[in-house]
């Protein structure tokens, strides 16, 4: 009974965290999408320097833990920028923990998403680009109108997998004090000592969010499916 009351009392407060969690995840996935697509294209079709730059980026962000990157960016990079702006130009800016979390998780996700899209592009028959070129399309136009529409469709299952990983990784953002689900749960639990029911609640919330996202992406996958393909 105590557990039930603890959940009911904490629910409105913790539910507000859902918006922040969703914000971090949507922000990170969108940033990863916007950066990941050109990175993938660069890695498949780019010149050697482009491929090298993308390769180094991917290895760096795959190789360093999210937690380290969060501290590095929030306290290290952003802290330095804030101090420089204040002392140099008298400009007062505060980068929020929320922004830092979005940016870091977006940059990490860009590394992973670029590999998802690279695989999807390389899965297409080479003849698709040849046929587009033979019609007089520039490489850019062929990639935009012929390659990416097909590659992005192929990428949806792997992309929804990446979504579920980013969603659960977003709990790490609580270390910066972002007021998302995990931070709020931790805050209430450490005051009420109702750890078991409250962390169960947090787990259930993450589960529901994952379920909603995966179902929505599955729906998208069906909606954009090319007629005649069996998969």
């Amino acid at each position: 009974m105590d557990a039930f009351i603890a959940i009911m009392d904490a629910l409105p407060y913790i539910l507000k965290g859902v918006a922040f969690t969703a914000g971090i995840v949507i922000g990170a996935m969108m940033l990863g999408l916007i950066a990941g697509i050109p990175m993938a294209v660069g890695q498949v079709y780019g010149s050697r320097p482009v491929r090298t730059v993308v390769g180094v980026y991917v290895w760096f962000f795959r190789g360093v833990p999210v937690l380290v990157l969060l501290f590095l960016v929030y306290f290290g990079v952003f802290g330095l920028i804030e101090i420089q702006l204040r002392s140099g130009y008298g400009i007062h800016i505060n980068f929020s923990p929320f922004m830092s979390a979005c940016l870091v998780m977006g940059m990490v996700s860009a590394a992973y998403q670029s590999q998802i899209f690279r695989g999807a592009i390389q899965a297409l028959p080479q003849g698709q680009l040849k046929a587009a070129s033979a019609l007089g399309m520039s490489d850019f136009m062929a990639i935009r109108t012929i390659i990416l529409p097909q590659a992005l469709r192929i990428a949806i299952p792997a992309w929804s997998n990446e979504f579920s990983i980013v969603l659960k990784d977003s709990a790490v953002a609580f270390v910066l004090g972002t007021t998302e689900i995990m931070a709020r749960t931790h805050f209430v639990a450490s005051r009420t000592y109702q750890h078991l029911p409250l962390y169960l609640l947090a787990g259930v919330l993450y589960y529901i969010l994952t379920w909603i996202g995966i179902k929505a992406l599955l729906k998208l996958e069906h909606k954009v499916r090319i007629p005649g393909y069996s998969n």
Partner: protein, 254 residues
Amino acid sequence: MTKGAPPVLQIDDIHKVLGGKEILRGVSMTVDKGELKILIGPSGGGKSTLLQCINFLLPPDQGRIFLEGHEVHFHKKAELYQFRQHVGMIFQDFNLFDHLNALDNVSIALRKVKKIHKAEARERAYHELERVGLAEKMDLYPAELSGGQKQRVSIARALAMDPKVILLDEPTSALDPELIGEVLRVIVELARSGMTMIMATHQIGYVKSLTDEILFMENGRIIERGSPEKLLHPDINTRCRGFCEMLNDLIREP
């Protein structure tokens, strides 16, 4: 010296090395307006590489190509893209755009490359599909079409660009035997209507009467060339005739 219009296509001493192997060792040919030239020869002889060099899908290592007397400078992107609009290409495995239905496959280059208005492009595309007998299939996607239908859509796609010449790279060799006829009929119709074409094929029987010149390729060179009457004449022994007879024997085997 001057004898009217320059050839539609003039190919001059093309060389190409792929993977350390010399695939083309100096190939030259000219194609006049309305001509049908047949490339024939054993696989690995360089037919497909030659066709892909002609529109620079594979940039030649050496040699020059002229379109209606003007040399094509393929290192200049704008000139290359312009040139390719004039040279249609039909692939062995069709290469239709899998995410577009038949009509959009034909109209997309009109819209994106030629910047023709959408409604007009669709009208033109419909007309070209009609020409290859597939107007009623315009809403179907490549995965919903048979091999022969796919190849006919790809011919319509090339025709829509109003090419000055069409390159056909073994257009029927990926097809089931019963589907070859419908594609060849379209190609014969094109040849009769005066389309300029270079076709690599082994199905020489159907188009023999329309062929202006047969080019027999082996080891990266054109080793025999001439009219079908000359190269396939029963009294003259040519490599080409030997090859064609061998193909016929293979087909006759049960």
